[in-house]
Protein backbone atom coordinates (compact mmCIF):
# COMPACT_ATOMS: atom_id res chain seq x y z
CA UNK A 1 0.00 0.00 0.00
CA UNK A 2 1.09 3.54 -0.78
CA UNK A 3 1.76 6.17 1.79
CA UNK A 4 -0.67 8.99 1.09
CA UNK A 5 -0.02 11.40 3.95
CA UNK A 6 3.31 11.94 5.60
CA UNK A 7 4.56 14.14 8.42
CA UNK A 8 8.21 14.74 9.23
CA UNK A 9 9.30 16.29 12.54
CA UNK A 10 6.10 18.29 12.89
CA UNK A 11 5.73 20.63 15.84
CA UNK A 12 2.70 22.81 16.50
CA UNK A 13 2.40 25.64 19.00
CA UNK A 14 -0.68 27.54 20.14
CA UNK A 15 1.11 30.64 21.39
CA UNK A 16 3.42 29.21 24.06
CA UNK A 17 1.62 25.90 24.29
CA UNK A 18 3.47 23.08 22.58
CA UNK A 19 0.53 21.05 21.27
CA UNK A 20 2.24 18.62 18.88
CA UNK A 21 5.76 17.41 19.50
CA UNK A 22 8.02 16.09 16.78
CA UNK A 23 5.57 13.92 14.93
CA UNK A 24 6.85 11.81 12.06
CA UNK A 25 4.49 9.28 10.58
CA UNK A 26 3.20 7.96 7.26
CA UNK A 27 -0.44 7.06 6.67
CA UNK A 28 -1.63 4.66 4.01
CA UNK A 29 -3.87 5.25 1.04
CA UNK A 30 -7.38 3.77 1.07
CA UNK A 31 -7.11 2.64 4.65
CA UNK A 32 -8.72 3.79 7.86
CA UNK A 33 -6.31 5.26 10.37
CA UNK A 34 -7.67 5.84 13.86
CA UNK A 35 -6.17 8.48 16.14
CA UNK A 36 -6.76 7.73 19.79
CA UNK A 37 -5.69 9.23 23.09
CA UNK A 38 -7.09 11.10 26.10
CA UNK A 39 -8.73 14.54 25.80
CA UNK A 40 -6.27 17.31 25.03
CA UNK A 41 -3.61 14.96 23.69
CA UNK A 42 -3.44 16.70 20.32
CA UNK A 43 -5.20 14.15 18.13
CA UNK A 44 -7.78 16.62 16.79
CA UNK A 45 -5.10 19.24 16.26
CA UNK A 46 -3.11 16.63 14.34
CA UNK A 47 -6.15 15.86 12.17
CA UNK A 48 -6.68 19.52 11.32
CA UNK A 49 -3.11 19.79 9.99
CA UNK A 50 -4.11 18.09 6.76
CA UNK A 51 -6.78 20.52 5.60
CA UNK A 52 -5.02 23.43 7.27
CA UNK A 53 -7.97 24.21 9.51
CA UNK A 54 -5.49 25.09 12.26
CA UNK A 55 -4.64 28.14 10.15
CA UNK A 56 -7.94 29.69 11.21
CA UNK A 57 -6.81 29.90 14.82
CA UNK A 58 -4.78 32.95 15.87
CA UNK A 59 -1.20 32.48 17.04
CA UNK A 60 -0.60 29.03 15.59
CA UNK A 61 2.93 28.13 14.57
CA UNK A 62 3.72 24.96 12.68
CA UNK A 63 7.17 23.62 11.80
CA UNK A 64 8.26 20.48 9.98
CA UNK A 65 7.12 18.90 6.76
CA UNK A 66 3.60 17.72 5.94
CA UNK A 67 3.03 16.12 2.57
CA UNK A 68 0.06 14.71 0.73
CA UNK A 69 0.96 12.77 -2.42
CA UNK A 70 4.55 13.97 -1.90
CA UNK A 71 3.51 17.62 -2.07
CA UNK A 72 4.28 19.83 0.90
CA UNK A 73 0.89 21.31 1.72
CA UNK A 74 2.40 24.10 3.81
CA UNK A 75 4.42 25.42 0.89
CA UNK A 76 1.47 26.06 -1.40
CA UNK A 77 0.10 29.48 -2.30
CA UNK A 78 -2.48 30.97 0.03
CA UNK A 79 -5.03 30.82 -2.77
CA UNK A 80 -4.42 27.08 -3.19
CA UNK A 81 -5.60 26.29 0.33
CA UNK A 82 -9.13 26.18 -1.13
CA UNK A 83 -7.99 23.46 -3.56
CA UNK A 84 -6.37 21.55 -0.73
CA UNK A 85 -9.60 21.61 1.28
CA UNK A 86 -11.59 20.31 -1.69
CA UNK A 87 -9.22 17.38 -1.86
CA UNK A 88 -9.31 16.77 1.88
CA UNK A 89 -12.88 16.58 3.14
CA UNK A 90 -13.78 16.94 6.78
CA UNK A 91 -16.58 15.74 9.03
CA UNK A 92 -16.91 17.44 12.40
CA UNK A 93 -17.73 16.18 15.85
CA UNK A 94 -21.05 17.97 16.05
CA UNK A 95 -23.15 17.57 12.90
CA UNK A 96 -23.05 21.01 11.28
CA UNK A 97 -25.37 21.04 8.27
CA UNK A 98 -26.09 24.52 6.91
CA UNK A 99 -29.53 26.01 7.53
CA UNK A 100 -30.46 25.20 3.96
CA UNK A 101 -32.40 22.45 2.28
CA UNK A 102 -31.03 18.91 2.27
CA UNK A 103 -30.31 19.30 -1.45
CA UNK A 104 -28.53 22.62 -1.07
CA UNK A 105 -26.37 21.26 1.73
CA UNK A 106 -24.89 18.63 -0.55
CA UNK A 107 -24.78 21.01 -3.52
CA UNK A 108 -22.92 23.66 -1.54
CA UNK A 109 -19.42 22.37 -2.21
CA UNK A 110 -20.19 22.05 -5.92
CA UNK A 111 -21.43 25.62 -6.11
CA UNK A 112 -18.31 26.73 -4.23
CA UNK A 113 -16.35 25.12 -7.05
CA UNK A 114 -18.23 27.15 -9.63
CA UNK A 115 -20.30 24.23 -10.93
CA UNK A 116 -23.68 25.62 -11.93
CA UNK A 117 -25.30 23.22 -14.39
CA UNK A 118 -28.27 22.01 -12.39
CA UNK A 119 -28.22 18.57 -14.04
CA UNK A 120 -24.61 17.96 -13.02
CA UNK A 121 -25.37 19.18 -9.51
CA UNK A 122 -28.47 17.06 -9.01
CA UNK A 123 -26.72 13.93 -10.31
CA UNK A 124 -23.80 14.51 -7.96
CA UNK A 125 -26.13 15.23 -5.02
CA UNK A 126 -27.92 11.92 -5.58
CA UNK A 127 -24.64 10.02 -5.96
CA UNK A 128 -23.19 11.54 -2.78
CA UNK A 129 -26.33 10.86 -0.76
CA UNK A 130 -26.26 7.25 -1.98
CA UNK A 131 -22.60 6.94 -1.01
CA UNK A 132 -23.49 8.26 2.43
CA UNK A 133 -26.34 5.70 2.67
CA UNK A 134 -28.86 8.47 3.13
CA UNK A 135 -30.58 8.61 -0.25
CA UNK A 136 -33.45 6.23 0.53
CA UNK A 137 -34.31 8.19 3.66
CA UNK A 138 -34.30 11.66 2.13
CA UNK A 139 -35.09 11.29 -1.58
CA UNK A 140 -38.67 12.49 -1.06
CA UNK A 141 -37.77 15.51 1.03
CA UNK A 142 -34.75 17.03 -0.62
CA UNK A 143 -36.37 20.46 -0.46
CA UNK A 144 -36.91 20.22 3.30
CA UNK A 145 -34.59 21.78 5.83
CA UNK A 146 -31.58 19.74 6.88
CA UNK A 147 -32.58 20.50 10.47
CA UNK A 148 -35.60 18.22 10.13
CA UNK A 149 -33.25 15.23 10.07
CA UNK A 150 -32.18 13.31 13.16
CA UNK A 151 -28.65 13.83 14.51
CA UNK A 152 -27.40 10.64 12.85
CA UNK A 153 -28.97 11.58 9.53
CA UNK A 154 -27.49 15.07 9.80
CA UNK A 155 -24.05 13.56 10.27
CA UNK A 156 -24.49 11.34 7.22
CA UNK A 157 -25.65 14.43 5.35
CA UNK A 158 -22.41 16.14 6.36
CA UNK A 159 -20.52 13.12 5.05
CA UNK A 160 -22.45 13.34 1.77
CA UNK A 161 -21.66 17.05 1.64
CA UNK A 162 -17.97 16.28 2.03
CA UNK A 163 -18.07 13.49 -0.59
CA UNK A 164 -19.83 15.63 -3.18
CA UNK A 165 -16.65 17.52 -4.09
CA UNK A 166 -14.84 14.19 -4.65
CA UNK A 167 -12.00 14.43 -2.16
CA UNK A 168 -9.39 11.68 -1.90
CA UNK A 169 -8.99 12.02 1.86
CA UNK A 170 -11.68 12.19 4.53
CA UNK A 171 -10.87 13.59 7.97
CA UNK A 172 -13.35 12.66 10.67
CA UNK A 173 -13.22 14.32 14.06
CA UNK A 174 -15.12 12.05 16.45
CA UNK A 175 -17.97 11.83 13.95
CA UNK A 176 -20.13 9.56 16.10
CA UNK A 177 -19.51 10.94 19.57
CA UNK A 178 -22.75 12.94 19.59
CA UNK A 179 -24.84 10.09 18.20
CA UNK A 180 -26.88 7.21 19.60
CA UNK A 181 -25.63 3.62 19.21
CA UNK A 182 -27.76 2.83 16.16
CA UNK A 183 -26.64 5.96 14.31
CA UNK A 184 -23.08 5.20 15.35
CA UNK A 185 -23.32 1.70 13.87
CA UNK A 186 -24.55 3.20 10.58
CA UNK A 187 -21.65 5.65 10.46
CA UNK A 188 -19.20 2.81 11.14
CA UNK A 189 -20.70 0.68 8.37
CA UNK A 190 -20.40 3.65 6.10
CA UNK A 191 -16.74 4.20 6.96
CA UNK A 192 -16.12 0.56 6.13
CA UNK A 193 -17.66 1.07 2.69
CA UNK A 194 -15.90 4.35 2.04
CA UNK A 195 -12.39 3.11 2.65
CA UNK A 196 -12.49 1.33 -0.70
CA UNK A 197 -12.20 4.73 -2.35
CA UNK A 198 -10.96 7.11 0.30
CA UNK A 199 -8.08 7.54 2.68
CA UNK A 200 -9.77 8.02 6.04
CA UNK A 201 -8.34 9.52 9.21
CA UNK A 202 -10.64 9.29 12.18
CA UNK A 203 -10.24 10.74 15.64
CA UNK A 204 -12.12 8.73 18.21
CA UNK A 205 -12.56 8.54 21.94
CA UNK A 206 -14.05 5.16 21.68
CA UNK A 207 -11.45 2.41 21.67
CA UNK A 208 -13.86 -0.33 20.64
CA UNK A 209 -14.72 1.82 17.67
CA UNK A 210 -11.07 2.22 16.73
CA UNK A 211 -10.66 -1.54 17.03
CA UNK A 212 -13.72 -2.24 14.88
CA UNK A 213 -13.19 0.12 11.98
CA UNK A 214 -9.52 0.97 11.58
CA UNK A 215 -6.60 -0.69 9.85
CA UNK A 216 -3.98 1.45 11.57
CA UNK A 217 -4.00 3.22 14.90
CA UNK A 218 -1.91 6.04 16.32
CA UNK A 219 -1.87 6.66 20.05
CA UNK A 220 -1.30 10.25 21.19
CA UNK A 221 -0.38 11.43 24.66
CA UNK A 222 0.48 15.00 25.68
CA UNK A 223 1.20 16.06 22.11
CA UNK A 224 3.41 13.11 21.31
CA UNK A 225 2.68 10.23 19.01
CA UNK A 226 3.53 7.40 21.38
CA UNK A 227 2.90 4.52 19.04
CA UNK A 228 1.69 3.96 15.51
CA UNK A 229 1.04 0.53 14.09
CA UNK A 230 -1.50 -1.81 12.60
CA UNK A 231 -4.61 -1.71 14.73
CA UNK A 232 -4.45 -5.39 15.61
CA UNK A 233 -0.89 -4.99 16.85
CA UNK A 234 -1.76 -1.93 18.92
CA UNK A 235 -4.67 -3.70 20.55
CA UNK A 236 -3.10 -7.10 21.09
CA UNK A 237 0.59 -6.48 21.40
CA UNK A 238 1.47 -2.81 22.00
CA UNK A 239 5.18 -2.08 22.24
CA UNK A 240 4.87 0.89 24.58
CA UNK A 241 3.72 0.59 28.21
CA UNK A 242 1.71 3.81 27.98
CA UNK A 243 -0.24 2.48 25.01
CA UNK A 244 -0.99 -0.67 26.88
CA UNK A 245 -2.12 1.24 29.98
CA UNK A 246 -4.42 3.41 27.88
CA UNK A 247 -6.08 0.70 25.87
CA UNK A 248 -6.58 -1.47 28.90
CA UNK A 249 -8.30 1.47 30.53
CA UNK A 250 -5.84 2.33 33.26
CA UNK A 251 -6.05 6.05 32.43
CA UNK A 252 -7.73 8.41 29.99
Amino acid sequence: MNIKIKTQNVHLYYGDFHALKDISVGMYEKAVTALIGPSGCGKSTFLRLFNRMNDLIDNVKITGEITIDQKNIYQIKQSHIDNLRRNVGMVFQKPNPFPKTIFENVAYGLRVNGINQEKVISDQVELSLRQAALWEEVKDKLKKSAFELSGGQQQRLCIARALAVEPSILLMDEPASALDPISTAKIEELIFELKKDYTILIVTHNMQQAGRISDYTGFFLNGELIEFDETKTIFTNPKNNKTESYITGRFG
Binding site: D58, R86, G109, K144, S145, A146
Partner: protein, 293 residues
Protein backbone atom coordinates in the same frame (compact mmCIF):
# COMPACT_ATOMS: atom_id res chain seq x y z
CA UNK B 1 -33.44 9.65 57.44
CA UNK B 2 -34.74 11.99 54.77
CA UNK B 3 -36.89 14.87 56.00
CA UNK B 4 -39.18 17.39 54.33
CA UNK B 5 -39.35 20.40 56.65
CA UNK B 6 -42.60 22.38 56.29
CA UNK B 7 -41.19 25.75 57.33
CA UNK B 8 -38.35 25.91 54.81
CA UNK B 9 -40.82 24.92 52.13
CA UNK B 10 -43.11 27.83 53.08
CA UNK B 11 -40.25 30.34 52.87
CA UNK B 12 -39.16 28.94 49.52
CA UNK B 13 -42.70 29.12 48.19
CA UNK B 14 -43.37 32.66 49.38
CA UNK B 15 -40.06 34.05 48.15
CA UNK B 16 -40.85 32.56 44.71
CA UNK B 17 -44.30 34.12 44.73
CA UNK B 18 -42.87 37.45 45.86
CA UNK B 19 -40.10 37.78 43.27
CA UNK B 20 -42.03 36.52 40.29
CA UNK B 21 -45.01 38.61 41.36
CA UNK B 22 -42.79 41.68 41.49
CA UNK B 23 -41.33 40.93 38.07
CA UNK B 24 -44.82 40.43 36.67
CA UNK B 25 -46.13 43.70 38.12
CA UNK B 26 -43.15 45.63 36.77
CA UNK B 27 -43.48 44.23 33.28
CA UNK B 28 -47.23 44.88 33.25
CA UNK B 29 -46.64 48.46 34.42
CA UNK B 30 -44.32 49.05 31.46
CA UNK B 31 -47.07 47.94 29.10
CA UNK B 32 -49.50 50.18 30.97
CA UNK B 33 -47.24 53.21 30.62
CA UNK B 34 -46.93 52.53 26.92
CA UNK B 35 -50.70 52.22 26.57
CA UNK B 36 -51.14 55.39 28.58
CA UNK B 37 -48.89 57.35 26.23
CA UNK B 38 -50.73 55.93 23.24
CA UNK B 39 -54.11 56.77 24.80
CA UNK B 40 -52.92 60.28 25.63
CA UNK B 41 -51.79 60.93 22.05
CA UNK B 42 -54.66 59.16 20.31
CA UNK B 43 -57.45 60.72 22.41
CA UNK B 44 -56.17 64.24 21.82
CA UNK B 45 -54.92 63.82 18.27
CA UNK B 46 -57.57 61.69 16.59
CA UNK B 47 -60.05 64.56 16.21
CA UNK B 48 -57.84 66.53 13.81
CA UNK B 49 -56.92 63.57 11.63
CA UNK B 50 -58.67 63.92 8.33
CA UNK B 51 -57.82 63.55 4.68
CA UNK B 52 -57.09 67.25 4.52
CA UNK B 53 -54.74 67.01 7.55
CA UNK B 54 -52.72 64.36 5.75
CA UNK B 55 -52.83 65.79 2.26
CA UNK B 56 -52.63 69.56 2.63
CA UNK B 57 -49.87 71.98 3.57
CA UNK B 58 -50.20 74.17 6.66
CA UNK B 59 -52.27 77.32 6.12
CA UNK B 60 -53.06 80.55 7.97
CA UNK B 61 -49.78 80.64 9.90
CA UNK B 62 -50.08 76.91 10.66
CA UNK B 63 -53.37 77.19 12.46
CA UNK B 64 -55.17 75.52 9.57
CA UNK B 65 -54.45 73.01 6.84
CA UNK B 66 -52.38 69.87 7.27
CA UNK B 67 -48.95 68.37 7.64
CA UNK B 68 -48.36 66.78 4.26
CA UNK B 69 -44.95 68.43 3.56
CA UNK B 70 -43.66 67.42 7.00
CA UNK B 71 -44.95 63.87 6.60
CA UNK B 72 -43.34 63.43 3.20
CA UNK B 73 -40.17 65.15 4.45
CA UNK B 74 -39.84 62.66 7.30
CA UNK B 75 -40.27 59.76 4.86
CA UNK B 76 -37.54 61.28 2.64
CA UNK B 77 -35.20 61.59 5.61
CA UNK B 78 -35.84 58.00 6.73
CA UNK B 79 -35.26 56.72 3.19
CA UNK B 80 -32.06 58.61 2.43
CA UNK B 81 -30.44 58.27 5.84
CA UNK B 82 -31.04 54.49 5.89
CA UNK B 83 -29.89 54.15 2.28
CA UNK B 84 -26.60 55.70 3.38
CA UNK B 85 -26.21 54.23 6.87
CA UNK B 86 -27.46 50.66 6.41
CA UNK B 87 -24.92 49.41 3.83
CA UNK B 88 -22.03 51.25 5.46
CA UNK B 89 -23.00 50.07 8.95
CA UNK B 90 -23.47 46.46 7.86
CA UNK B 91 -20.14 46.43 6.04
CA UNK B 92 -18.39 47.98 9.03
CA UNK B 93 -19.99 45.36 11.29
CA UNK B 94 -18.83 42.59 8.94
CA UNK B 95 -15.32 44.01 8.98
CA UNK B 96 -15.18 44.26 12.75
CA UNK B 97 -16.54 40.79 13.43
CA UNK B 98 -15.25 38.75 10.50
CA UNK B 99 -12.05 40.34 9.25
CA UNK B 100 -10.26 42.38 11.86
CA UNK B 101 -8.04 40.35 14.14
CA UNK B 102 -8.43 40.71 17.87
CA UNK B 103 -6.16 43.52 18.80
CA UNK B 104 -5.74 47.23 18.92
CA UNK B 105 -7.53 48.23 15.74
CA UNK B 106 -10.58 46.16 16.59
CA UNK B 107 -10.67 47.48 20.16
CA UNK B 108 -10.28 51.01 18.87
CA UNK B 109 -13.16 50.65 16.41
CA UNK B 110 -15.38 49.15 19.09
CA UNK B 111 -14.50 51.90 21.53
CA UNK B 112 -15.21 54.58 18.94
CA UNK B 113 -18.58 53.13 17.95
CA UNK B 114 -19.55 52.99 21.62
CA UNK B 115 -18.44 56.58 22.13
CA UNK B 116 -20.24 57.66 18.98
CA UNK B 117 -23.51 56.26 20.27
CA UNK B 118 -23.10 58.26 23.48
CA UNK B 119 -22.79 61.63 21.75
CA UNK B 120 -25.89 63.83 22.22
CA UNK B 121 -27.85 64.26 19.02
CA UNK B 122 -27.55 68.05 19.11
CA UNK B 123 -23.79 67.64 18.80
CA UNK B 124 -24.37 65.55 15.68
CA UNK B 125 -26.49 68.43 14.45
CA UNK B 126 -23.71 70.94 14.99
CA UNK B 127 -21.16 68.65 13.39
CA UNK B 128 -23.44 68.04 10.42
CA UNK B 129 -23.87 71.76 9.97
CA UNK B 130 -20.13 72.39 10.09
CA UNK B 131 -19.20 69.52 7.75
CA UNK B 132 -22.07 69.00 5.32
CA UNK B 133 -23.85 72.34 5.28
CA UNK B 134 -20.85 74.68 5.39
CA UNK B 135 -17.61 72.91 4.57
CA UNK B 136 -18.95 70.61 1.83
CA UNK B 137 -21.34 73.37 0.85
CA UNK B 138 -24.48 71.21 0.56
CA UNK B 139 -26.41 73.97 2.31
CA UNK B 140 -29.32 73.11 4.55
CA UNK B 141 -30.77 70.26 2.53
CA UNK B 142 -32.24 66.76 2.63
CA UNK B 143 -28.78 65.49 1.70
CA UNK B 144 -27.06 67.24 4.63
CA UNK B 145 -29.84 66.19 7.03
CA UNK B 146 -29.79 62.57 5.86
CA UNK B 147 -26.02 62.36 6.16
CA UNK B 148 -26.22 63.72 9.70
CA UNK B 149 -28.97 61.25 10.63
CA UNK B 150 -26.94 58.48 9.00
CA UNK B 151 -23.96 59.29 11.22
CA UNK B 152 -26.25 59.22 14.21
CA UNK B 153 -27.58 55.74 13.41
CA UNK B 154 -24.29 54.15 12.32
CA UNK B 155 -23.18 52.96 15.79
CA UNK B 156 -26.46 51.15 16.37
CA UNK B 157 -26.35 49.42 12.97
CA UNK B 158 -22.69 48.47 13.40
CA UNK B 159 -23.33 47.04 16.84
CA UNK B 160 -26.39 45.02 15.90
CA UNK B 161 -24.61 43.69 12.81
CA UNK B 162 -21.62 42.70 14.89
CA UNK B 163 -23.75 40.99 17.54
CA UNK B 164 -25.84 39.19 14.91
CA UNK B 165 -22.71 37.88 13.19
CA UNK B 166 -21.17 36.86 16.48
CA UNK B 167 -24.18 34.72 17.31
CA UNK B 168 -23.73 32.66 14.12
CA UNK B 169 -22.33 29.28 15.19
CA UNK B 170 -18.67 28.82 14.25
CA UNK B 171 -19.54 25.29 13.07
CA UNK B 172 -21.32 26.75 10.01
CA UNK B 173 -18.21 28.70 9.04
CA UNK B 174 -15.91 25.70 9.57
CA UNK B 175 -18.22 23.51 7.50
CA UNK B 176 -17.98 25.97 4.65
CA UNK B 177 -14.21 26.48 4.87
CA UNK B 178 -13.69 22.72 4.97
CA UNK B 179 -15.39 22.49 1.56
CA UNK B 180 -12.89 24.91 0.09
CA UNK B 181 -15.05 28.03 0.30
CA UNK B 182 -13.26 31.33 0.71
CA UNK B 183 -14.00 33.67 3.56
CA UNK B 184 -15.99 36.04 1.33
CA UNK B 185 -18.05 33.19 -0.13
CA UNK B 186 -18.71 31.82 3.35
CA UNK B 187 -19.89 35.20 4.60
CA UNK B 188 -22.11 35.77 1.56
CA UNK B 189 -23.70 32.34 1.36
CA UNK B 190 -23.75 31.08 4.93
CA UNK B 191 -23.05 33.66 7.62
CA UNK B 192 -24.91 36.69 6.34
CA UNK B 193 -28.16 34.91 5.44
CA UNK B 194 -28.32 33.52 8.98
CA UNK B 195 -27.53 36.85 10.60
CA UNK B 196 -29.59 39.07 8.32
CA UNK B 197 -32.97 38.87 10.09
CA UNK B 198 -31.30 40.08 13.28
CA UNK B 199 -29.39 42.76 11.40
CA UNK B 200 -32.73 44.11 10.22
CA UNK B 201 -33.69 44.57 13.86
CA UNK B 202 -30.92 47.19 13.94
CA UNK B 203 -32.50 48.81 10.91
CA UNK B 204 -35.88 48.91 12.64
CA UNK B 205 -34.44 50.52 15.76
CA UNK B 206 -32.59 53.07 13.65
CA UNK B 207 -35.71 53.98 11.71
CA UNK B 208 -37.50 54.62 14.98
CA UNK B 209 -34.71 56.84 16.16
CA UNK B 210 -34.16 58.72 12.89
CA UNK B 211 -37.83 59.47 12.37
CA UNK B 212 -38.13 61.04 15.81
CA UNK B 213 -34.94 63.09 15.98
CA UNK B 214 -35.19 66.86 15.86
CA UNK B 215 -31.79 68.12 16.92
CA UNK B 216 -29.67 66.64 14.10
CA UNK B 217 -31.89 68.18 11.41
CA UNK B 218 -32.42 71.50 13.17
CA UNK B 219 -29.42 73.18 11.52
CA UNK B 220 -28.91 70.83 8.59
CA UNK B 221 -32.24 70.36 6.90
CA UNK B 222 -35.52 71.16 8.57
CA UNK B 223 -37.58 74.04 7.24
CA UNK B 224 -39.96 76.00 9.42
CA UNK B 225 -42.47 76.18 6.66
CA UNK B 226 -42.54 75.09 3.03
CA UNK B 227 -45.75 75.24 1.06
CA UNK B 228 -44.65 72.60 -1.44
CA UNK B 229 -42.60 69.46 -1.59
CA UNK B 230 -38.85 69.56 -2.25
CA UNK B 231 -37.91 68.58 -5.80
CA UNK B 232 -34.36 67.38 -5.10
CA UNK B 233 -32.16 66.24 -2.21
CA UNK B 234 -30.40 69.58 -2.35
CA UNK B 235 -33.49 71.34 -1.02
CA UNK B 236 -34.72 71.68 2.51
CA UNK B 237 -37.76 69.81 3.71
CA UNK B 238 -40.13 69.92 6.63
CA UNK B 239 -40.11 67.05 9.11
CA UNK B 240 -42.72 65.81 11.58
CA UNK B 241 -40.71 66.06 14.83
CA UNK B 242 -39.52 69.56 14.02
CA UNK B 243 -42.99 70.60 12.88
CA UNK B 244 -44.34 69.28 16.16
CA UNK B 245 -41.81 71.35 18.05
CA UNK B 246 -42.69 74.44 16.03
CA UNK B 247 -46.45 74.31 16.44
CA UNK B 248 -46.20 73.32 20.09
CA UNK B 249 -43.82 76.08 21.15
CA UNK B 250 -43.22 78.84 18.67
CA UNK B 251 -46.26 79.01 16.44
CA UNK B 252 -48.34 82.11 16.07
CA UNK B 253 -51.11 80.77 18.27
CA UNK B 254 -49.93 77.88 20.38
CA UNK B 255 -53.23 77.28 22.14
CA UNK B 256 -55.07 77.07 18.84
CA UNK B 257 -52.60 74.66 17.28
CA UNK B 258 -52.40 72.33 20.28
CA UNK B 259 -54.79 69.70 18.81
CA UNK B 260 -52.77 69.79 15.59
CA UNK B 261 -49.63 69.11 17.60
CA UNK B 262 -51.21 65.98 19.04
CA UNK B 263 -52.40 65.00 15.59
CA UNK B 264 -48.86 65.41 14.29
CA UNK B 265 -47.52 63.26 17.12
CA UNK B 266 -50.09 60.60 16.31
CA UNK B 267 -49.14 60.59 12.64
CA UNK B 268 -45.46 60.32 13.58
CA UNK B 269 -46.16 57.30 15.76
CA UNK B 270 -48.29 55.68 13.06
CA UNK B 271 -45.58 56.27 10.44
CA UNK B 272 -42.96 54.62 12.64
CA UNK B 273 -45.30 51.68 13.23
CA UNK B 274 -46.02 51.26 9.53
CA UNK B 275 -42.35 51.48 8.53
CA UNK B 276 -41.49 48.97 11.24
CA UNK B 277 -44.23 46.69 9.97
CA UNK B 278 -42.62 46.69 6.55
CA UNK B 279 -39.20 46.10 8.05
CA UNK B 280 -40.65 43.19 10.02
CA UNK B 281 -42.09 41.69 6.86
CA UNK B 282 -38.65 42.05 5.31
CA UNK B 283 -37.11 40.32 8.31
CA UNK B 284 -39.60 37.46 8.12
CA UNK B 285 -38.89 37.11 4.43
CA UNK B 286 -35.16 36.74 5.04
CA UNK B 287 -35.77 34.46 8.02
CA UNK B 288 -37.93 32.18 5.86
CA UNK B 289 -35.07 31.76 3.41
CA UNK B 290 -32.89 30.32 6.16
CA UNK B 291 -34.04 26.78 6.83
CA UNK B 292 -33.44 26.62 10.55
CA UNK B 293 -36.37 24.28 11.12
Amino acid sequence: MIEFPEKADQIKRWSQIFFFGLARILSISIILILLLILYFIVSRGISVISWEFLSAAPKESMTQGGIMPALVGTLYLIFWSMLIAFPIGVMAGIYVNEYSQDGRIKRFIKMMTNNLSGIPSIVFGLFGMALFVNYLNFGASILAGSLTLALLSLPLIIRTTEESLKSVDQGFRNGSYALGASKLYTIRKVVLPIAFPNIITGLILSIGRVSGETAPILFTCAAYFLPKLPSSVMEQCMALPYHLYVIATSGTDVAKTRPMAYGTALVLIIIVLIVNLFANLLRNYFASKVKMK
